[in-house]
Amino acid sequence: MAGNRLLYGGAILAIAFETIFMYMSPLVVRSTIDSIIGDKPFAGSGFILRIVDIAGGISFLKTNLWVVAILLVAIAIIRGIFTYLTGRWSSNASESIALKLRESLFAHLQSVPVHFYSRWKIGDLIQRCTSDVETIRKFLGVQVVQVGKSIIMLSIVIPILIMLNAKMAALSLITVPFILTFAVIFFLKIKSVFQIADESEGAMSAVLQENLTGIRVVRAFARQDFEIEKFEERDDAFRNHVYRLIRILGVYWGISDTLVYTQSGIILIMGTYWTISGQITLGTLVAFIAYVEFLLWPIRVTGRTLTDLGKAMVSLGRVREILEEPVEDISGWSGSNERLMGNIEFRHTGFRYDDYTSVLHDISLSISAGQTVVIMGPTGSGKSTLVHLLPRLWDYREGSVTIDGRELNTIQREYIRSQVGIVLQEPFLFSKTLEENIRLGKIGNPGESDIIEASRIAAIHDEIESFEKGYDTVVGERGVTLSGGQKQRIAIARAILQNPAVLIFDDALSALDTETESRIRQALVTRKGTSTTIAIAHRISTAIHADMVVVIENGRITHTGTHSELIAKDGFYRRLWEMQKVQDNLTADEERN
């Protein structure tokens, strides 16, 4: 930040010099017209007189006007250098700030706890990270300099005008309060119109996006005309709002032009009177005509600047809201990063979300290292929440959970996550190659054969090979669309390669067809013992070979046992089994043959 302050300081200083040199040229022109070309006595400080003397004196200059011409160009060049420096330094500062802002947002979003994401909407977050940062950047890059420039210009031009002629100076400032008030009031008023236009654009894009993502539904119901009508309505509304905005802006620029021309007119006409009556010289009048432009310009944009300031403040507030969200606690025991065994013990564990809806009550469960446990239960019963406690995505609030005898919430998050692999219900792939996606889970550098083996187990290898670019296929690029099942299997391959002490399938097998699922299951069985495996499942077939089946209903464990134990008891599992038990007959049938 200190570096940026320095840059801004430099930029403001450069603006001051730029402004001084900018104002110098009308003065030079004035003196030239009055005293070199004309015969008026030279009015100026001793310093300027000395420069004139060095240049050869007035009579020399009269016959050698080229010296003045070169002086003017030199002034323009020096001014140009300062203009350049202003732009360079201020953009360096604003871009650095934007860069820092983006990076801290990204870093922050990665370190907030999972419940953050259930409270915030994705679209809103992205908006804050992109367009709000952009608003701030623009304000810092353009308006901060503009404000500095306006202040410096006014604080230099007003003394010069007064020095030249106090009466004319007063005259030049006559419409300033009006223009200023008008500009400020106008831009404050138009803010809401801007907002309405923005919103209507958002509404239009939303219809467009929904249509494009749901195009199959649109076609399936032959709703094209309905959709076209819906879109046209939004398209038309957007057009009207933008047009309304432009109309208002048209009126604004019309009126503000009137005020500016009025000011110039007052200067011209009154200046003419005073020149004739000898109160001012022609050169002074010419200088005033030039200065009025300089004077009115910053005032005219004040309203705009203030509006932008308002917007930037709002954006800054929105960005801050994210940055002020607490991050996950990263302290805790991390062993010496050795592999855990995978003995898991829940004792009277309870969990509720922030909105106090209880999800898990009094969970007691003991899983030994290397066991395969299947968790079943109706939707919303708390199965996912239970398994999410293990990699500390959520922290339990009651009771205790231990892994290898150590209390889970005293173990460092990064470490426990490297030990507990989880395949999520909705797997997420990064826009990298498939190979990189599979490799992500593995610390170190797994060989190609390991990756292929993991893919084989996950029953995805053959499909990957059938892609044009095989393992180098980039996810999401050029219409490469993977089906839900394919994504799931890649995520499974990733988890298998990771080979964690505890491997969790969060309903990760249900999107697969039965045959694929059974292949994966068999492959996992052959490496049984290497990981404690916990799977959430809907299908009885997944549960049959498990060491233990846990049934959760309404946040409580209602049954535990093996498949054959559970079907002997009345309850959810047995009901489920009965619903799906057609095969019983089949087996019987087979036995009879």
Binding site: S25, I33, W66, V68, A69, L72, R79, T83, Y84, S91, A98, E103, F106, A107, S111, V112, Y117, I122, G123, I126, T130, M204, L208, Q209, E210, L212, R216, V217, R219, A220, F221, F231, F238, R239, V242, G250, W253, G254, D257, T258, I269, T272, T275, I276, L282, I289, P391, R417, S418, L424, S431, G479, T514, E515, L576, W577, V582, Q583, D584, A588
Partner: protein
């Protein structure tokens, strides 16, 4: 073929603009009027310094004040005229801008409703959105405001030059001597600056997707403990962004002073030669002041015009992309020559005759495929992922057409029916249920727009969705949030099932329609589905055997071919693939003889 990767030309080509300019056609009179107003505005801008000159030469130098009242009156009239003109030209340009973008969007959207799925397969939603949002906005802005800048700038330059030449052509030559050089430099700089901004935009959209990925994949990132790696990758992007933006800003800050210096060189020549003229007596004071103003004035539009030219060049890509969208012909559409009038209601007999389907050239999904389905029967498609099940139903929907062979519906080649008419007889329920923003009521009604509230509720009740909907705070009027985040996938599937039911389709298609519904609810829906399929031709893809078992026919598809065909009992007896799938699923020792096997 893959137009996302196509390299669009960077050079200005009028031919591609012509198509886009047809969208401005209805505004041609507005545009002519706009041009006239710009010339008027420029005229007054040029005239203003002449007023100053008049004041200097006719009042100040001779020391006369008579007539100054008239002078002031003329000044006021001109300034009011100018103020009104400015307001009007902004209005006119705004009308053109908003009108052109409205029409491009409208045409583009209508085209998107026609284009076949093969087009959607090649283009991401983001790509398509950009065409109709930022590309369109940019283009219409250039058409409207580019016209403003070009006409005004051209008029100023021409006008100033003409006035100066009339007054003193020699002095004019001196003042304008730097113009050719300036034009050249401007053009170079603007192209450079725009190239830099293009890089900025490209990097910016990468940053946006990075944020998107960071947020969407936050949990995955955490579980894989790769926060540090993600941040490192992101830092590379932001660094690139900084470099590109900084370069663009530096180039812009270099260009501005160049124009200022050029303009000052013009003024310097004016004061040098004009001043000599005044001293020698050939030029009046007023004239000198005038030339000084004009020197500054002439260079004002240079920057603007250079920018417009560079932007035109830069917009070339946008123009070509929009043109390509609007001019793409849909692969599947009604062929007016072969289409036949529809005389009777659709029955629902579906026949695949020697159908081969390639998703990509050489990649046969279906190979000489034959299938005959009688109206009103329920067909379950079973088989491994990628075997061709989804392709079959996509072709029944005519989302895709066979590469060779034909599909007959009620004995007629289905390409001879009007596409929309055909599709209006379909009901489709997909695995990933897509809901639109709006209430649940509106979403179910999407199936049949004329349905009453009671009919909607009845449809929901039929698929067991009524129970959860009535538990929601606003019941059927609960708004569905962006992306449907306030409903579970299973709930969304139920709503889309209700949506299909209310459409009362002749042909019903369900692709994994209930995969995320829990087993107990599915059991209830099963009853509803059985009622639903009665009297309709139904195609069902499902992993759950309970859904499949009751189908009239079960077809096992492998590598684009039918390997088994029959009802549940037949196929079980066959002890083939279906049998294997079935037993794999339910290897249980317990026996419970009796039901289901007839």
């Amino acid at each position: 073929m893959d137009h996302m990767e196509t390299d669009y030309t960077r050079n200005f080509k009028f031919s591609s603009w012509r198509r886009v300019l047809t969208f401005a056609q209805p505004y041609r009179f507005t545009m002519i009027l706009l041009g006239i107003f710009m010339i008027l505005v420029a005229g007054v801008d040029i005239f203003m310094p002449l007023m100053t000159r008049y004041a200097v030469d006719n009042f100040i130098v001779p020391g006369v004040t008579s007539g100054i009242g008239y002078f002031a009156a003329v000044y006021v009239i001109i300034l009011l005229f100018q103020a009104v003109s400015v307001a009007i030209f902004i209005l006119l340009a705004g009308k053109v801008e908003t009108g052109v973008s409205y029409r491009i969007r409208k045409a583009g959207f209508a085209k998107l409703q026609e284009l076949s799925f093969s087009y959607y397969d090649r283009s991401s939603v983001g790509w398509l959105m950009t065409r109709l949002t930022s590309d369109t906005t940019k283009l219409s802005e250039i058409i409207a405001w580019g016209l403003v800048d070009l006409v005004w700038g051209g008029a100023i330059m021409i006008g100033v030059t003409v006035v100066m030449v009339i007054l003193d052509w020699k002095l004019t030559l001196w003042v304008l001597s730097v113009v050719p050089l300036l034009f050249w430099v401007s053009q170079k700089f603007q192209v450079m600056i725009l190239a830099s901004y293009r890089e900025v935009r490209k990097t910016n959209s990468k940053i946006t997707s990075s944020f998107n990925e960071g947020i969407m994949g936050a949990v995955t990132t955490k579980t894989l403990v790769r926060e540090a790696d993600s941040l490192r990758e992101f830092t590379e992007l932001t660094t690139r962004m900084f470099n590109a933006s900084f370069r663009a800003a530096v180039q812009s800050s270099m260009y501005m002073p160049l124009v200022q210096v050029a303009s000052m060189i013009g003024a310097a020549f004016a004061i040098w030669f004009g001043g000599n003229g005044v001293i020698a007596g050939g030029i009046s004071y007023g004239m000198l002041v005038l030339f000084l103003s004009y020197a500054a004035f002439f260079f004002q539009p240079v920057q603007e015009m250079a920018r417009v030219f560079a932007e035109l060049q830069n917009a070339q890509a946008a123009v070509e992309r929009i043109t390509s969208l609007i001019e793409t012909d849909p692969d599947i559409r009604d062929d007016m020559e072969t289409i036949l009038p529809v005389s009777r209601p659709l029955q629902g007999d579906v026949r695949f005759e020697d159908v081969t389907f390639e998703y990509k050239r050489g990649q046969k999904i279906l190979n000489h495929f034959d299938l005959e389905v009688n109206a009103g029967s329920t067909i379950a498609l079973v088989g491994e992922t990628g075997g061709g099940k989804t392709s079959i139903i996509s072709m029944v929907c005519r989302f895709y057409e066979p590469t060779s062979g034909r599909i007959l519906i009620d004995g007629r080649d289905y390409t001879r029916y009007p596409l929309q008419w055909l599709q209006s007889h379909l009901g489709v329920v997909l695995q990933t249920p897509h809901l639109f923003s709006g209430t649940i009521m509106e979403n179910i009604r999407y199936g049949r727009l004329s349905a009453t509230d009671e009919e909607v509720i009845l449809a929901a009740a039929q698929v067991q969705a009524d129970t959860f909907i009535s538990k929601l705070p606003d019941g059927y009027h609960t708004a569905i949030l962006e992306g449907g985040t306030n409903l579970s996938t299973g709930q969304k599937q139920l709503i889309s099932l209700a949506r299909a039911i209310i459409a009362n389709p002749v042909i019903l298609i369900m692709d994994e329609a209930t995969s995320s519904v829990d087993t107990q609810t599915e059991q209830l829906i099963q009853v509803a589905i059985e009622k639903l399929v009665k009297g309709r031709t139904s195609f069902i893809i499902a992993h759950r055997l309970s859904t499949i078992r009751n189908a009239h026919r079960i077809i096992v598809i492998e590598k684009g071919r039918i390997i088994e065909d029959g009802n549940h009992a037949d196929l079980i007896k066959l002890k083939g693939k279906y049998f294997k799938l079935y037993t794999d699923r339910f290897q249980i020792e317990v026996t419970d003889p009796g039901m289901d096997l007839k």
